[in-house]
């Protein structure tokens, strides 16, 4: 009988622990954290895979614009714990509004329950990661940024049409990546750090929001009549996108 009792205790120890058992004590447990990427226009209109290419938007330059394609890259997402440690997720995410499956990232690494003080991520790739041809999935997505303007990958591709000052429909290609200035290439990614206190007590979903309108207004009001196509090799346009991009992202709801 002693052996039976021993086996039962062993079984209890071996199989008794799971994510739901932390109630009543503060022992950190693993928690799956996923990220949900959402898009809005001026924080008022949800831009979704169902409506992104049918809605019309007015930017602060009074351009009436239509979005045909929106893809962007997020990398190095990190959660910062109150004890000073960091949960650094390995995955990058190419968000494509034409593909609803890309609006959620489920990293392989789990976080632990407890108190956190911030979330950070990179829009695009930093110089260490922005290596031409290094990512098979991005290669087949035709996400490369030409070598002649610095190589690596696009950070964003926003294509569409707008009504120009003559009332004609014109295309725009708002593409962002490395900035090239007469053969000198400047990193052009944006690091976002959001200081915020939150607690993960269970599996959680963190919303990363893009306000698309910010690309066109803050601090620079971007008139598509002036700059709409051929922007990839336009150094000033690339740097201005970087300036406007600083306020594009925010952290939305954390659900768990």
């Amino acid at each position: 009988m002693k052996k039976i009792a021993f086996l039962l205790i062993l079984a209890f120890v071996a199989f008794g622990c799971n994510n739901d058992d932390d109630g009543g004590n503060n022992t950190p447990t693993n928690a799956d954290v996923s990220f949900k990427f959402t898009q809005t226009w001026a924080d008022s209109t949800d831009v979704t895979p169902l409506n992104f290419n049918t809605n019309l938007y007015i930017n602060d330059a009074r351009n009436l614009a239509h979005i045909t394609r929106l893809r962007y890259l997020i990398s190095r997402i990190e959660l910062h714990k109150s004890d000073g440690t960091t949960v650094a997720f390995d995955e990058y995410q190419l968000v494509d509004l034409a593909d609803a499956t890309t609006l959620t990232l489920n990293p392989a690494l789990t976080a632990t329950t407890g108190d956190y003080t911030g979330i950070s991520f990179i829009y695009g790739f930093n110089e260490e990661d922005n290596i031409s041809g290094a990512y098979e999935d991005l290669n087949i997505a035709d996400w490369g940024w030409p070598e002649m303007i610095g190589g690596g990958y696009h950070f964003m591709q926003m294509d569409g049409t707008f009504i120009d000052e003559n009332g004609e429909t014109q295309p725009y290609n708002f593409h962002n990546g490395t900035a090239a200035n007469n053969g000198v290439f400047e990193a052009n990614h944006i690091e976002f750090n959001f200081d915020m206190n939150f607690t993960i007590s269970n599996d959680a979903t963190i919303e990363i929001k893009m306000d698309i309108s910010e690309w066109y207004k803050n601090p620079l009001i971007w008139d598509l009549n002036d700059r709409s196509t051929g922007l990839m090799m336009n150094y000033l346009a690339q740097k201005d996108m970087n300036r406007n991009g600083q306020t594009v992202f925010s952290i939305g709801e954390i659900t768990q």
Binding site: M148, E168, T229
Partner: protein, 369 residues
């Protein structure tokens, strides 16, 4: 009591052992995928991945229920070239998908067994295992090679047969039941097994040995004209071809998705729009790969351009606006990017450097019958 304890002890050990087996199952290597439900095992024949693909592309996509096998590929090859699948026994897949034309043909519209023209240009076939979104045909209406292979047999302007009749012809044939038995472990032929075999053969049609491939691998050099043509291809202000047609790190030379490339002001063939029902998809067709252009004229979904020069001229000065035109056709208001004649010539030279004579002459891809 002691005996009872011993039984309980053995029972618990058994349960524990069983638990170990069950809990570890997800990490176990899968059983040989060539094994059929009744235990038959054909000979595995994994695809040979070219060096340039191995370097930059994900591993090829092979459906779990149709692994590549020696017997399956051989059967598929025989079927591909055999007119037995057509209604009157005169037309094979290869009639419109000829090896010498990189598995398309040289007609604007292929002609079916009843002498009727189709409405779309026959698509070339190669590197299908790297078509990761699995949307086949110009309009993406088939979501696997296996499903694509089913359609021409019953299409009234192509092979104009029924699958019942086609399977009957195969079943009563002197060789096919045994070949199916070797490939799939059953002599009972179905349309699904027929399509699986053809799909296995089509996945072996890999083209990655063009002069440009060898240039990327450091095995040969290109002419200055070809190198300049590649620069035009990659220049957003000139060719801007790379947004839809790959680059040196996407050696498929296609994005495998759908665009309206400014061919018509009035859309008469909705393409993808017919499949999705979304008016925003009207006039969109799959970007074809730019490999093997030397063998695949005429061009476009409707074969309207007889030459590569016509194609380049279209993008240079022939674009026309329609509501769903891709914004990447950015110079539509002036008809295109207006390349200079030397730039056009260089671009053409580069494009032709993507053609692969070893592919169309590969003895493994010719008619075995």
């Amino acid at each position: 009591m002691k005996e009872r304890s011993r039984k309980i002890y053995c029972f618990l050990i058994g349960i524990f052992t069983l638990t170990l087996f069950v809990s570890c199952s997800s990490d176990d290597p899968k059983p040989e995928e060539t094994e059929t439900d009744d235990g038959y095992v054909a000979t595995p024949q994994p695809l040979t991945v070219p060096a340039i693909f191995d370097q930059f592309l994900p591993i090829p996509s092979i459906p779990a229920d149709n692994p590549q096998t020696v017997e399956g590929v051989a059967l598929g090859r025989k079927l591909f070239f055999d007119p037995i699948l057509s209604g009157d026994g005169t037309q094979a897949c290869a009639s419109c998908h000829k090896p010498s034309n990189s598995f398309t043909d040289d007609a604007q519209f292929s002609i079916g067994i009843d002498g009727i023209e189709g409405t779309r240009n026959s698509m070339p076939i190669y590197n299908m295992a790297w078509n990761f979104n699995s949307k086949l045909f110009w309009d993406g209406r088939a979501n696997s090679i296996e499903k694509q292979a089913l359609e021409p047999v019953t299409n009234p302007v192509e092979m104009h047969n029924t699958w019942e009749n086609a399977v009957g012809s195969l079943q009563s044939h002197g060789e096919y039941p045994e070949l199916f038995n070797k490939a799939f472990g059953t002599p009972t032929i179905t349309k699904e097994l027929t399509a699986k075999a053809i799909a296995q053969f089509e996945r072996t049609l890999i083209s990655a040995n063009s002069p440009f491939d060898r240039y990327l691998l450091g095995e040969n050099s290109l002419t200055p004209q070809e190198i300049n043509g590649f620069a035009i291809f990659m220049d957003e202000a000139r060719g801007d071809c790379f947004h839809c047609h790959g680059n040196e790190f996407n050696p498929l030379w296609t994005d495998n998705i759908f665009h309206n490339n400014g061919l018509d002001a009035i859309i008469t063939d909705k393409g993808l729009g017919n499949v999705t029902g979304d008016p925003n998809d009207d006039g969109k067709f799959k970007s074809p790969s730019l490999r093997n252009l030397a063998y695949t004229a005429p061009y476009m979904h409707d074969g309207r351009f007889a030459t590569l020069d016509n194609v380049i001229n279209h993008y240079s000065e022939g674009l026309v606006y329609s509501r769903t035109i891709d914004p990447l056709m950015k110079a539509v208001s002036t008809g295109g990017v207006h390349l200079t004649e030397p730039d056009k010539a260089d671009l053409k030279a580069f494009l032709l450097s993507l053609s692969d004579p070893s592919f169309i002459n590969n003895p493994d891809f010719q008619n075995p019958n």
